[in-house]
C-alpha cells in the first residue's frame, strides 16, 4: 500500500530510499572508474599524444591483450576459483595452431576449431581436477601451468628444432581469418580488431552476470558453494563451465596473437596470468569470490594498458616500468577499497 504524495506518487514508505549517488558508489566498478580517470589525467599531462587517437590505438591494443582474458578470469574469480594456467594456455593454443597449419598443412579454419576444442579440453581437465580433488584451484592450475609450459617448449623444440613456429601466413584461408581475428583497422592509427572482440566479450560477460540465471549461479557459487548447492544451484557444472570458458578464451587469444604476428614463440603468455588476476581485482573482484564485475575488470585492464603504454609515451625511464606499474596498481586497489568502504557506510 503506497502513500500517494505529490512529490513521490509511487514511493513505498516501507522501503528506505537510497539516493542515486549512493547507489552508484555501491557498484563494484566505481573504484576502477575513478582509477582510470586518474591514470588518464596523469599521462595526458605528462605525455603529448597520449589523449590523441594515436595513443588510444596503442593503449587499447595493450588493454585488449589483458582484457580479453581478464574478463573470463574475473568470472571464474567471482565463482570462487583461480586459473593460473590462463597465460601459458594462450601460448599452447598458438603453438598448436601454428603446428597444424605448417606441418600437416591444414586449412586455417578446421585448425582454429581444433585449437578451440583443445582449449575446452584443458578447461575441462582443470575443472574436473579441481572439483574432484577438492584441492585449491590455485595449486591445481599451477600444476597445469607448469605442465603446459614444459610441453610448449619441449614439443616445439622436438618438432621444429627451434623454439618458435613461423610462416603461419602461408596457410590456406589465412587472409580471411587474419581480417577477423588479427588485423588492424583505421589506418594510420591501426586499432587492433582484438579491441572490438574485447569490448564484445565484456558486454556478453556483463549480460550473463547481470541478466541470466547462469550469472546468478556464478555469484552464488562464489559466495558460498555449500549454501548454493542447498538452494539447488548445480555447483559442479557451473564451476567446470567457468574453467572451460577461461581456457577456451585463452585459446582464442592465442589464435589472435598468432594471426597478428604470423608466428608464435614457445614462451608466449608466461607471466600474464597474474596480470589478468590483477585487472580483475583492480576492477572490483574480491579474491575470495562472490563479488565483482566484468566491466570493472575491463576498466582494470584499461588502467594496465594505459600504464604500460603511458610510460614510453611520457619518456620516463623504462627501467622503472615495474615500479610505476606497482605504484599505480597499489593506488588503484586502495582507491577501490576506500570507495567501497565509503559506499557501505553511506548506504542511507
Amino acid at each position: 500500500m503506497a502513500i500517494e504524495s505529490a512529490r513521490h506518487p509511487t514511493r513505498d514508505e516501507r522501503v528506505a530510499y537510497v539516493g542515486l549517488l549512493a547507489r552508484l558508489f555501491q557498484r563494484p566498478e566505481i573504484g576502477s572508474l575513478v582509477g582510470v580517470v586518474a591514470v588518464f589525467v596523469l599521462f595526458t599531462s605528462t605525455a603529448t599524444g597520449f589523449a590523441e587517437l594515436d595513443g588510444f590505438a596503442r593503449w587499447t591494443d595493450e588493454a585488449s591483450n589483458i582484457g580479453i582474458m581478464a574478463v573470463p578470469v574475473a568470472l571464474l574469480m567471482i565463482g570462487g576459483e583461480f586459473d593460473l594456467s590462463a597465460g601459458v594456455m594462450t601460448g599452447s593454443a598458438g603453438l598448436l595452431l601454428g603446428y597444424l597449419v605448417t606441418h600437416p598443412d591444414w586449412n586455417i579454419w578446421p585448425a582454429i576449431l581444433v585449437v578451440l576444442l583443445f582449449g575446452m579440453l584443458v578447461g575441462l581437465i582443470n575443472g574436473v581436477l579441481v572439483m574432484k580433488t577438492r584441492l585449491p584451484s590455485f595449486i591445481v592450475t599451477l600444476g597445469t601451468f607448469f605442465s603446459l609450459e614444459g610441453l610448449n617448449l619441449g614439443l616445439t623444440s622436438h618438432v621444429t628444432g627451434t623454439v618458435y613456429i613461423s610462416d603461419v601466413d602461408a596457410a590456406h584461408g589465412y587472409g580471411l581469418a587474419r581480417t577477423i581475428l588479427g588485423s588492424s583497422f583505421w589506418s594510420p592509427y591501426d586499432f587492433q580488431t582484438r579491441v572490438i572482440w574485447w569490448v564484445g566479450i565484456t558486454l556478453v560477460a556483463t549480460w550473463v552476470l547481470m541478466r541470466t540465471r547462469f550469472g546468478n549461479w556464478i555469484f552464488a557459487v562464489g559466495g558460498d558453494a555449500t549454501a548454493a548447492r542447498n538452494v539447488g544451484v548445480p555447483v559442479l557444472r557451473t564451476k567446470i563451465a567457468l574453467f572451460m570458458t577461461t581456457s577456451t578464451m585463452a585459446a582464442l587469444l592465442g589464435i589472435m596473437i598468432t594471426m597478428q604476428l604470423r608466428s608464435i614463440q614457445a614462451g608466449q603468455g608466461i607471466g600474464r596470468e597474474f596480470e589478468f588476476i590483477i585487472a580483475a581485482v583492480v576492477g572490483g573482484c574480491l579474491l575470495t569470490g562472490g563479488y565483482g564485475s566484468a566491466i570493472g575488470t575491463s576498466i582494470g585492464a584499461l588502467i594496465m594498458g594505459m600504464a604500460t603504454i603511458g610510460i614510453p609515451f611520457s619518456g620516463w625511464n623504462s627501467n622503472y616500468r615495474s615500479l610505476f606499474l606497482g605504484i599505480i596498481l597499489l593506488l588503484a586497489v586502495l582507491l577501490n577499497a576506500a570507495i567501497r568502504q565509503q559506499a557501505v557506510r553511506s548506504r542511507r
Partner: protein, 339 residues
Amino acid sequence: MSERDELKILEEAEGLSRRDLIVKGGIVTAGASLLGSPAVAAAAVKRSARADKKLSYAVITHGAGDVFWAVVKKGVAKAASDLGVSTTYSESFNKPDKQAQLIDTAVARKPNGIAVSAPNASAIKDSLRRAEKAGIIVITLNSGVDQFKQLGALTHVGQTENIAGAGAGQRLAATGAKHLLVIFHEAANIGLEQRFAGAKSTFKGKVSRILVKGVTDVATSTNEIRTKLQADKSIDAILALNPQMGIAARDAAKGVKSKAKIGTFDLSSDVIKAIQRGQVLFAVDQQQYEQGYLPIVFMYLYNTNLNTVGGGKPVLTGPGFVDKSNAAKVSALAKKGTR
C-alpha cells in the same frame, strides 16, 4: 609289466614332464624377461661406458628457451656426436641464483668439464670454484669475457660485446642517422649493457634506450616500440639486441611508416628474410653455434691431450655481419637451426 607299474611309469613321466615344463619354462621365461628388461640393458651399457670411459660435459647457460640459445644447444649436441662424448644442456632463464644451483647439480654428477655462460660472474663464482676443486675444468661462453680468468676458466668462447656493439653503432652512424634507439629485452643483463655501451661509443649522435616486455610477449614489445617511435619522431636508427626484437622493431617501424634504419643482434630465419627484403639493414652475428660446439672441443682436447687454446685470451666467434650481400647463403643454414 603290471598295469600299476605302467601307470606309475606314465605318472612319473607325466609328472616329471609337467614339473619339468613348469620349472624349465619358468627359468626360460624369467631369463628372457630379465635379458629383455631395460634395467639389464642399461647396466650393460653402463658397463661398456665405464670400460670406454666416455667423457661427459655439462653446459649451463642463462638462456630463456629462445631462438638464440636453441642454436647453441644444437652446437653442443653436434660436438657431442662428432667427438663421441656425452653432454647435457640446461638453462637458467636469466636467473643467476638458478644458474648457480644448476651448476652445483651438474657438478654432483661428476662431469669431466662444464661450460657456462657468465652474465653474472659473482653469482656463480662459488659454484665454479667448487667444481674446479673437484677437478672439473671450466670454460665460459657467450658472456663473461672480462671475468673468465677470475672464474678459473681455461678460456672464453664468445664475442666481445663491446666490440660488437661498436661495430653495429658504426654501421648505423654510416647511414647518416642522428638519433639511435636501443631496445633492451632483458633487464640486468651485463652483455646487453656492454653492447649498448659499445654502440654508444661509435654512434655520433643521440642514443636512447627502452626496456620492453621481451621474447615472452612479442606483441606487447612491438606495441611498446611503436609507441616510442610515435612519441619521438626524431628516432632514425634502431638497434635491437635479439632477433625476435629485431622483427618487433621492423613491425613497429612499418606501423608508423618510420624510415628508421634497423640493425639487430643475432640471426633467425625471419631476420634473414627481412635483411633480404631490405627491411633490416644488418644483423651482428656472434655465431653462437660455435659457442656451443667449441667449448666441448676445447675441453675434449684438454682431457685427452692436455692442450690449451687461446693463450690466456678469449677465443672470438664474432662479430660477423650478415647483410644483403651474404644473407642468401646464410639463409639456408639458418633454416636448419644452426645459424
